[in-house]
Amino acid sequence: MNQAPGAAVPAHIVIVGGGGTGAALAHDLVLRGLRVTLVERGEVTSGTTGRHHGLLHSGARYAVSDATAGAECIQENMILRRTAPGTFEENDGLFVALTDEDREYGRRLVAACEESGIPSRELSAEEALRLEPGLNPELLWALQIPDGTFDAMRLPLRWFATAKHNGAVIRPFTEVVDVTSASRCVTGVVVRDHTDGRESRIAADMVVNAAGPWSEAIAAMARVDVPVQPSPGVLLALRGRLCNMVVNRCHPAADGDILVPQRGLTIVGTSSWLVDHPDDLGVPEDHVRAMYDEGAKLVPAVRGAEQRAAWSAARPLIGGRGGSTGRELSRTFECFDHARSDGVEGFVTISGGKATTARAMAEKTADVVCAKLGIDRPCQTRDVVLLPHTAYYLS
């Protein structure tokens, strides 16, 4: 049964999925006084979260096509810098125009950034080359925006660390094998602990499905449907810092049009296609070649750079099954209260979105969870400064 507000024992929420969203949600919910258990079938951040390129979005990448997404990104960008100090390479980013068409898009981008509240500075080709000498010297123009870089695992680890410190139970290597329910109300999950092979039941006042591209499979266990479309992309890691700023092509988001420096590597991303299942993605050679070809247009040294790794990651996009590449699907997120959509109580799915907005996704989901439980406590994750990532291993 759902817990009444003010009861002696706080409600217990089980979060399924140990990616960035689950991490931020665990952090949010324990700050609101709830008991939280998070289960993840593998190591934390072993699904989509750990594999992303590590871009802290300024929002400029979405500003032209979706001003709301752009505004959401810059707002989260600023919140994350404040609450996770020391987690970002704060070197800004550039949108680089190589053709007249790019330059035209750039004019729209300047206006769109202003509309979304994204600070930007126009640079001549010479000014841009002074900042990033490795850029294609043929560039026409560039726009500087507050993109940043983060470590795809270590930011979520700070949410996990802080959540654990505040009482959340984080259980990696614990796979959900069933969702239990009674009279169309979800009552908990059955999990298998892969470290000892034991199955057990975890009772919950509410279960939140934050399994990203795997959330359809979890929802099916609760006999509801969520329209998540796994959309993988290929990424390349090249040896050497070929740039210090994030370098974007100044055009609508497409294949191989972003370079993200990280440690001693440069990440080139990404392509986009659609799959039925988010496992067994493979790394198609033609996509790898596309990353090299398109990336080298921005920074010519990409062409000769040694490949450290090539991999695929599946985005959990919302809805619209039957598209072709996933580019037409929105990067926004959605929180499904299955009591409203399917008449199943005690079960909420959060999906879509992107790493930069994980905290906002968690806030909205925690609002839904609290409203359903009749709890009125404000979100604190905009201000609480996070513990260092190393605290995750020591608490």
């Binding site: 190591e43 795809a152 290597f173 440690r263 392509s271 039925d276 190393t390």
Partner: protein, 274 residues
């Protein structure tokens, strides 16, 4: 473009690349039926490890990590291992492959010279939880107190300078906290009190660029019998590091700094700061 069926995991060619698809050579595919034998160390909590053997289909690009994930997905869902980034940046998939430490995500099968691939967990970095999963507590108990910031000053490209209003460009530390250096270190294997290469390398980073950390505290933690003076200069750590940290070099530099400080103390008649 190849036809796609529900069972075909191959994606369509990337969109918006232009050009004639005829120009693009077909993706590389393995000879049908080509497999490699994996011997994987298995154990449940507290159990003595044994090996299980699996046949894994491989392609030219297949890494040890791909092979293990394929085993978990298609043969044995109970296999436990750590992984996250797939590009040598998170450090979670450190393992011993054919007796040598490495990151499974960037260890390609074709580079192992054929034959059976034996996969074991790293040693010395913490207690074995199950299969290939090590609890990294021993590692982080030594490493975290050094307080090494994650972000450091970045090298600049030739002729590059920071943007207006930005004092310096930044980048993440090289150390990816994988535990490979501890696993490869002969002293860490025999002396459980030894701080180990990663923690000492972190101490040197804090000495060279303190940022938010306290260099004197890091030096005090490192300059102890089970710290910099315990190293036998085998250089296995530097050899094994997948991220060019050079822990052995850091230990030697810390020793020189500590020795110089003591000498300075002797000459001026003050106490050593050890």
């Amino acid at each position: 473009m190849t036809e796609h069926t529900a069972n075909d995991p191959r994606p369509p060619a990337p969109e918006q690349l232009g050009g004639d698809p005829q120009d693009t050579p077909a993706p590389l595919h393995p000879a049908p039926g080509h497999t490699v034998t994996f011997r994987v160390s298995r154990s449940s909590r507290g159990e003595r490890p044994h090996f299980d053997t699996f046949q894994v289909p491989v392609e030219p690009r297949t890494t040890v990590l791909d092979g293990l994930i394929s085993i978990r997905r298609h043969q044995d869902p109970t296999l436990t291992l750590r992984h996250s980034c797939f590009h040598a940046s998170c450090g979670t998939c450190a393992m011993r492959v054919n007796g040598r430490e490495g990151l499974a995500c960037v260890t390609k099968l074709e580079e192992l010279g054929g034959g059976t691939v034996t996969v074991e967990p790293i040693a010395n970095a913490g207690a074995l939880i199950s299969d290939l999963v090590v609890d990294m507590v021993a590692f982080f108990e030594r490493y975290a107190p050094m307080g090494q910031p994650l972000v450091r000053e970045s090298e600049l490209g030739p002729g590059s300078r920071p943007a207006e209003g930005v004092e310096r460009l930044e980048r993440f530390e090289d150390c990816i906290e994988c535990g490979i250096c501890m696993s490869a270190c002969p002293i860490s294997a025999t002396d459980s009190r030894y701080l180990g290469p990663a923690a000492l390398a972190a101490a040197w980073r804090v000495m060279s660029e303190p940022r938010t950390a306290d260099p004197e505290r890091a030096m005090a933690l490192a300059d102890v019998d089970h710290g910099i003076w315990r190293c036998h200069a085998a250089f296995e750590c530097t050899e094994a590091c997948p991220s060019s940290v050079d822990p052995a070099g850091a230990i030697m530099r810390l020793r020189r700094t500590a020795a110089r400080r003591r000498l300075g103390g002797l000459l001026s008649g003050t106490r050593s700061n050890r």
